[in-house]
Symmetry: C2
Subunit: 351 residues, 2 copies
């Protein structure tokens, strides 16, 4: 004990040189009151039992560009599993090169969010999955056309029949959404932060622990809490001070469009912060590319405080401990089109 | 022997019911004089030693949308390994939703083609890889911008340094092209046809063997020969009869644009036929969606013969035996952007 204490004492000067916050002895316990480590198994999903067949079908659908009217865009186009589960664009490029209205959120760990989309208008991932397929600026397809496309390929019909029970016709838009949700439920990325929460003191650096301490002490964790360090509730963007108009465009009133309640003006789901270091640019507007700048903006707009550069650095160090291991995904081999597969609409629309 | 003979005799009526061509006893030997089975190992490539590090880097680059100016399009967008190594579009959709001039050929087994592109203007895959990156209607990028993008991510610099030797600066456009070629050299898809050529009589059905016989007897194999059952030389499209103007648009004179030789008017590289059942639509114009129709057009335009429906069916049966096993590809995890990574141009161009 004596020796350990001496070692720590020797290490202290270097640590205090940038220490904004002493690390409390009960950091793990305090953190566990606010956050939760990711589970080691695929989470159960309401009204959608997860099976290997459903996951495999969902993976095929997730990567299939023929789910879009153009035959060009797949779920993976904007929620790219190779780049943090999003597309690293301000807002996504969709059908006809149209620009979407909001930054694409990551699909990684999305299963743990209280609701989906920036304004929480979809209650879960199966509801969410139906949105982009039909949105004119995204995949621009119709449920009827998607199902006709899938039914034209016997392999897909077999896969739906293996993944679902009951009903003579299992190739349905509802089942498509459930399969995609099942695949997405597997996209869980355990990070150093989880290892720390699970008891491994060495999983996070001293700087990251200081950042975590600061994250809780400053009040960031009032909004960014739970399993996803965010994504668990809705809050006004600009609680203490309104962000600039480019970061918070006047016209996008967030959750107000969902609830039609004045209180919900400029209210958004707190961004889930897992893998945030991989998912620039930031905010629903996607206008901020630098994570430090994003943290500083949060300080002024949400905490009413100009954070010191040293504090921002520590907070970013903590956020880096949320970068997790993306599960290995083998690219699916998709069924070939047949004579009855509808032709891609890109050929009609293309310049 | 007697018993075997009897069994065959009994089976004959069913077989002859659709037999257009008796299967010669020396079919394998005859076929081996014209075709060649795929190798069981990754092929060596001229001026580009293949190493695991180079393959891994090439895979990352192949899937990285940040190689394009928009940050939207990767090699895999048009040469999708989930859908036969192409995009199943008439012609590809590129930067700004522009439509490309010719149908995207499959990247599968492309390493064995005599030259790349429909007109063979690139002598190999490393030369080919540089084309779409810079083409205005495809990725619309510049070598300088691509390299600046890659250099902004330390992980990429490490990967280039591990994949290449010599020179202080190994993150170069030439090395990018070589790495992509190295990955593409692994995209080899052994098929039932290869198993047959290698000695397995049961690998192809009787119908497929009849189709192969017909393919050689009719003269298809005069142009579609070698390891890729095509892709080994250049021929005029419309040798016996000019195809309709939608299939062979007047303005695209094929290899003439490369050689400026009158003889090369409407000359194209014979389409490599491996995985052809997965790569509709067909021809450089991408105007024909049905493989049977494509075969029939080849009959009239190249052989000067209207093939019987039964013959077309047998030929298509043979072509189906060229559908191979795509190697398992684990989606790469790409490096995250940094503060110095150039911003995607889609944000400037987007509507």
């Amino acid at each position: 004990m004596k020796m350990l204490f001496t070692t720590m004492a020797v290490a202290l000067p270097a640590a205090t040189a940038f220490a904004a916050e002493p690390i409390p002895a009960d950091l793990r316990e305090t953190a566990l009151a606010t956050f939760k480590a990711l589970p080691s198994t695929t989470p159960a999903v309401a009204n959608n039992p997860i099976t290997p067949e459903k996951i495999a079908l969902g993976k095929a659908l997730f990567f299939d560009p023929r789910v879009s009217a153009s035959g060009v865009l797949s779920c993976n186009s904007c929620h790219n599993l190779a780049t943090g589960g999003d597309d690293n664009l301000e807002t996504s490029i969709g059908h006809g090169w149209q620009k979407g209205p909001r930054n694409a959120p990551t699909v990684l760990n999305a299963i743990f969010n209280i609701a989906q989309f920036w304004d929480g208008r979809a209650e879960d991932l199966k509801a969410q999955a139906k949105g982009p397929v039909q949105a004119g600026v995204e995949m621009a397809n119709t449920p009827g056309q998607v199902i006709a496309t899938l039914k034209s390929m016997p392999q897909y019909v077999d896969w739906f029949n293996a993944a679902f029970t009951g009903g003579a016709d299992r190739v349905t838009f509802d089942n498509l959404a459930k399969a995609v949700e099942a695949f997405e439920a597997t996209l869980v990325t355990p990070a150093p932060f989880d290892a720390f929460l699970n008891g491994d003191d060495a999983a996070m650096t001293s700087e990251q622990k200081q950042g975590l301490t600061l994250f809780m002490n400053k009040g960031c964790s009032s909004c960014h809490a739970g399993m996803n360090v965010g994504g668990q509730d809705f809050y006004q963007f600009g609680l203490m001070e309104k962000p600039s108009a480019d970061v918070l465009p006047e016209k996008d009133k967030g959750r107000f469009a969902v609830t039609n309640t004045a209180d919900d003006s400029y209210v958004f789901r707190a961004a889930p912060l897992r893998n945030v270091a991989l998912t620039a640019p930031y905010f629903h507007s996607g206008k901020v590319w630098d994570l430090k700048q994003a943290v500083a903006i949060m300080g002024t707009t949400q905490l009413g405080e100009e954070l010191k550069e040293e504090e921002v650095d520590l907070l970013v160090a903590f956020l880096n401990s949320l970068t997790g291991k993306v599960p290995e995904v083998v690219l699916p081999i998709l069924p070939a089109e047949t004579a009855t597969t509808p032709r891609p609409a890109s050929q009609i629309l293309g310049k």
